[in-house]
């Protein structure tokens, strides 16, 4: 990137600066305040939440919402979410990088057509596929099983595309050296190419983990057995079902918070890979 030392600095008029920071302050408030309310209300009593909705600070700090979540199936949903997100992420990392590598580097007949097909598939809206996916999952006999939750999410054209773009951006000279030394294709891929692909794999990790952890509709149509509920469908059912009419805001927001924490941790750990601090590029 071209260095731009002191751009705008010292040159902008004071009122423009004030305006800028005022705009920022307003939007920062609009974006942060709801999360503060979520955090605070989760530790409130039922009465406190209804009577003082605006104040994020609880009158008395209580953890009753969390103990009730513990008595619900919450821990089970949490485990299911972990299982789904971990397997989907690992599977995508392997399959997407293999396919991306082949499409970028290996010469074989049908490569161009295959890549065109990947792009075409990316364009199909996912919600349109909800019903048909359910039909296929049932036909394959994996409805209401863990594989039924995980395997459909491994179909990820976007990830293949990301990895192909990445492999095209790194020089092939190192792999070629390994090839001349007589290493096989898989060996080269595993011990030469993958280590070089770390930045792209990081980006793919966060996108995949977040996508599968937060997935609601695909999980919804892949099972009906409550013991297979993930956090999204479990909490979703809880709210649209038995809690639909009851307020129970501390419980709802405690659930919302507890399901946000793991993805927030992954986000903050890996965030420099999506929110580049200087270039500001989305590596998707």
């Amino acid at each position: 990137m071209i260095p731009r030392a002191g751009r705008m600095a010292g040159r902008s008029k004071p009122w423009a600066r004030t305006g800028l920071y005022l705009t920022l302050a307003v939007f920062a408030f609009l974006y942060i305040y709801p999360f503060l309310l979520e955090l605070g209300t989760a530790f409130k009593t039922e009465v406190d939440a209804v009577n003082n909705p605006v104040n994020p600070l609880p009158h008395n700090w209580v953890v009753s919402a969390f103990t009730e979540l513990g008595q619900q199936d919450f821990p089970r949903w949490f485990m299911n979410s972990v299982v789904v997100a971990v397997f989907v992420t690992l599977g995508r990392l392997l399959f997407d990088s293999m396919a991306g590598y082949a499409l970028a580097r290996l010469r074989f007949r049908g490569r161009g057509a295959l890549f065109a097909a990947v792009i075409a598939v990316m364009a199909v809206p996912s919600v349109v596929l909800l019903i048909p996916k359910f039909l296929v999952i049932r036909t394959l006999g994996i409805y209401d099983t863990y594989p039924g939750l995980i395997i459909p999410l491994l179909a990820d054209a976007t990830g293949v595309f990301i990895m192909k773009q990445f492999f095209e951006s790194i020089p092939p000279s190192i792999e070629e050296a390994a090839k001349i030394d007589g290493a096989g294709t898989f060996r080269i891929f595993w011990s030469v190419v993958l280590p070089m692909a770390r930045p792209a794999l990081m980006a793919l990790t966060i996108v995949s983990f977040q996508g599968s952890w937060n997935d609601f509709s695909d999980i919804l149509i892949a099972h009906e057995n409550p013991s297979l509920d993930t956090l999204t469908t479990g909490v979703g059912r809880l709210v649209s079902g038995q809690l639909g009419t009851a307020t129970q805001y501390p419980l709802k927001l405690a659930a919302a918070m507890a399901m946000t924490v793991p993805v927030a941790v992954v986000f903050f750990v890996f965030q420099k890979h999506i929110l580049r601090t200087d270039g500001g590029a989305l590596k998707e």
Partner: protein, 372 residues
């Protein structure tokens, strides 16, 4: 800008047959054959997954949408018969409940698209411009704050909005401080345009109530988004603006310092610079954001399922949710699949229309070479 992007990601092609060339011909041949086999082997898992869970579903759904399959057994078993275009006819041509539901869902979603797409794009651009200021302190903090809703699950965000917009919730309490009595957000089916019309003294004119499209009278088509739908619209703008801000940022960073400085020297004010320099230079990003926004907003499902279930008075129904209700709820799989295909058609038509409109106003070159 396109060239800059290319320069950052050089696409290198290797010289044909480079590694094997120095050894014998037969060896090169063997290497190539092995490479071809590896190529298919490497792509196989991803390709099989894509075929089974993307291509196969489309074929199955196409068949189900013209069949009388009732959800029992395989849709390809011998007891299932083709009903031709009957499912589509029931939705598009035959007056009845099914047609009216589809009409309402399209109306509701249309208002959602018309409001969310421009507003989220404008907000995303505003946030991106503000956050891209080099002199800004705490840029990382603000960027994270604006992007955070994008990594939060739709379920968690829906919980927060249920609380914010509850009858005695935060929004109504805040409105109360201003002396305004807030509505019952999630149960108010009144359309915004109808409310304005009734303020002007217009109530259900016979000319508009007598006729209609898809079982919905013209008057009802013109209802505008209901108060309940407005909450979903605000939710969508709030959640996705951060995502799209991220797509604008690289484009903004790529605007060269010199152009900006030259414009300042020439005495161009901030608004002129925005219209004459920034906007034309970020056209490709704008194009991408509008396209993604359009495709995304026609597919609202999670929030409807979680917050309103299409209520009140079917003013937050969307085709995606209707397809789910009809097939999983009523077990009318043929009709549900048909709705999914109609939705697909709508998305294609809108994307093409948007392409034509935007392309007509600028050169094709802008669009090339830019992909997220």
């Amino acid at each position: 800008m396109a060239t800059r992007q290319r320069a950052l990601l050089p696409v290198r092609r290797r010289a044909p047959g480079a590694p094997g060339a120095r050894r014998g011909r037969g060896h090169a041949h063997r290497v190539r054959r092995r490479e071809a086999a590896a190529g298919w082997l490497f792509t196989a898992p991803a390709v099989v997954a894509l075929i089974v869970f993307l291509v196969l579903p489309i074929i199955t759904a196409a068949w189900v949408s013209i069949s009388d399959w009732n959800g029992i057994g395989s849709p390809f078993s011998s007891g299932v018969h083709s009903v031709g275009a009957a499912n589509y006819a029931a939705l598009l041509a035959k007056p009845g409940l099914a047609q009216q539901d589809l009409g309402l869902s399209i109306r509701d979603n249309l208002y959602y698209v018309l409001l969310v797409v421009p507003l989220q794009t404008a907000l995303a651009l505003l946030l991106a411009i503000v956050v891209s200021r080099k002199a800004l302190r705490g840029r990382g903090f603000f960027r994270t704050a604006f992007y955070f809703p994008s990594v939060t699950s739709s379920v968690a965000v829906s919980m927060i909005f249920l609380f914010l917009f509850a009858d005695a919730g935060v929004i109504n309490a805040a409105l109360g401080y201003l002396g305004v009595h807030g509505p019952n957000w999630f149960s108010d089916p009144n359309g915004l345009l109808h409310m304005i019309a009734s303020g002007l003294g217009i109530r259900s004119p016979a000319a508009l109530t007598g006729h209609g499209l898809l079982g919905v009278s013209w008057w009802d088509w013109l209802a505008g988004p209901s108060v309940a739908m407005v909450t979903l619209i605000i939710l969508a703008i709030w959640t996705t603006a951060g995502t799209f801000m991220l797509l604008f940022l690289p484009a903004l960073y790529n605007i060269s310092e010199q152009i900006e400085e030259a414009a300042i020297m020439d005495g161009a004010g901030p608004w002129t610079r925005f219209r004459r320099i920034t906007l034309p230079l970020i056209r490709p990003a704008l194009f991408l954001v509008l396209t993604l926004g359009l495709i995304g907003t026609w597919q609202v499902f999670d929030q409807v399922f979680l917050i309103t279930q299409g209520n009140p008075a079917e003013t937050t129904l969307t085709p995606a949710y209707l397809a789910y209700l009809v097939s999983f709820g009523n077990q009318q799989w043929g009709q549900g699949a048909a709705i999914a295909f109609i939705l697909f058609g709508i998305i294609v038509v809108f994307t093409v229309l948007q392409r034509l409109v935007l392309r007509g106003r600028g050169s094709l070159n802008d669009v090339r070479g830019w992909r997220a």
